[in-house]
Symmetry: C2
Subunit: 315 residues, 2 copies
């Protein structure tokens, strides 16, 4: 494929940034990839694995001359990074980010973007429970959604260019406004993560059941929860602190529903339980039809030795 951005600077070199680097290089979408990470060990890993052509100790150095700057750091440090790179951005460059919340990132980053630089916030809905520069792989974004939340008045040509990059990495791209993005993600990702973390914590606290029993007898449900709850703590702390309103709203609805089911259990109302459980099957079928998952029995069984490259088999 043709080069879409001559020089890309990745600020932060974790799972998402390293996967972008692999995908962009493998498909010839960029000429040069440079990077910055605070940790010397991470920078060394990027060079060793060969997904960066050069790495820099400061973000300011990394963005010099870059046509595209990708902020791939926890949401909580976006403001600080944006303040640092602002004066060093090349006129006409595009700045994007990969944060899981969008309005808070816009509030943090936009004030530091100089006139003549395009800020197009983004969020690839893709990930694994692994983190760090060694966890990235080129196919992470294939058939995943990449949401862009440009503000009104953003240069349409530059939005189309960034969109072309995401699509060339295999993603489907949609645009929406930032507050709506934050509500949708509160439902489909943020609140489920919080719940999974909570349940795993409860299991750990219960002294009458040993950790060994929890681990040995963890059935499907709990195994999936622990998988979710193994995600990066810093990233998730920042998600909840920065998508507070939507998460609290969805949590309120969740506990209301949960209390209704709890009451049905206490009262022995089997019809209420059966109706509720039947209704949820339809959503599952929708997800399979939308191609976001397979109908295969999984529960931790179907996982092949490496999650990479298995995408081709998706139904």
């Amino acid at each position: 494929m043709a080069v879409i951005y001559e020089k890309v600077a990745l600020i932060g070199l974790g799972l998402i940034a390293s996967s972008m680097a692999h995908a962009m290089r493998q498909r010839g979408l960029v000429a040069t990839v440079v990077g910055h990470a605070k940790s010397a060990e991470t920078r060394a890993a990027a060079m060793e694995l060969g997904f960066c052509d050069a790495v820099f100790e400061t973000a300011a150095e990394a963005v010099a001359g870059a046509d595209l700057v990708v902020l791939a750091v926890p949401v909580g440090v976006m403001a600080q990074v944006a303040a640092e790179i602002g004066p060093h951005l090349k006129p006409g460059a595009t700045v994007t980010d990969v944060g899981s919340v969008k309005q808070a990132v816009i509030d943090a980053v936009a004030p530091h973007i100089p006139e003549g630089v395009h800020f197009i916030p983004g969020h690839p809905i893709a990930g694994t429970e692994h983190s760090g520069p060694r966890s990235g792989f080129a196919t992470l974004f294939e058939n995943r959604w990449w949401l862009l939340t440009p503000s009104e008045g953003t240069d349409a040509t530059q939005v189309a260019r960034l969109r072309a990059l995401c699509e060339a990495m295999g993603a489907n791209v949609d645009e929406m406004d930032a507050p709506h993005h934050d509500l949708v993600l509160a439902v489909t990702s943020h609140t489920p993560h919080l719940i999974a973390y909570t349940m795993v914590g409860v299991a750990d606290d219960l002294r009458r059941v040993t950790d060994s029993e929890i681990i040995k007898y963890s059935a499907a449900g709990f195994r999936d929860f622990t998988r979710i709850a193994a995600s990066d703590p810093t990233m998730w702390r920042d998600v909840f602190l920065n998508n507070k309103d939507a998460t609290l709203e969805i949590l309120g609805r969740f506990t209301e529903e949960l209390f209704a089911l709890q009451r049905a259990i206490r009262k022995g109302d089997g019809a209420h339980l059966h109706d509720y459980f039947s209704r949820t099957r339809a959503i599952r079928r929708g997800i399979i039809q939308a191609g976001q998952d397979t109908a295969a029995s999984d529960f931790g069984r179907g996982a092949v030795a490496s999650g990479r490259g298995a995408d081709e088999k998706k139904q």
Copy 2:
């Protein structure tokens, strides 16, 4: 392998029973497998798929002459089935079940078991979100736990014999008392299922977010929840109605913890969130080490076209 039971009668021919039939036949653990299901369609499927040598319209006919009777029906109908088969059980036979709760099954079944017949309750911790006679496969129990909860005074020779059958199907077997089983499963399976059902219901209710958006943008967390929430509604209704006390206790602890995290989000207490999220990673590592799951990045990606036969690849 040697035949462990000459004739086995399966009462109920869903996922678990059909998987047992496939596993027992494939490994030569039984000479004859007969079955009963209320639905003529299910009985026909069992014959068509060849996992039963004969099927019967009544449970009473099916158990005649059987050395092992497996009750593989929803927990809510165990009492009725036990009452029906009681007078027809062969002296010296063993009756077991595969219900997800144990004390309620003992209360329902034990009164109907005649003197001279051995009742050894059991629970294979294995399953997929699929149900019915066509969803079974021979490797379902491989490297999964099968819990037996015999009461004191049960014939040790017959417990060892049933244990040998489970192990020959690939399972690891542990024995514990029924109330402890019900508490452990409330933590590792029942409560997580209820929570997943609830979250999927909340998503479906939220009118500002369309079903299409939920489905398109369902990130890892929510996809896993929908997978869990697609399980058989009748089975799960019966689990909650019959493991009421333990489930309500764990739900109480869960909401207490969830409220503490909710409060941390509201107050912006990042340290509390980060500490909590860090702690849960250790449990995940334990589960991987215990061989109940793989470290591979999965999230619905690694699932191969069929979950069957993929077990060999488990790390």
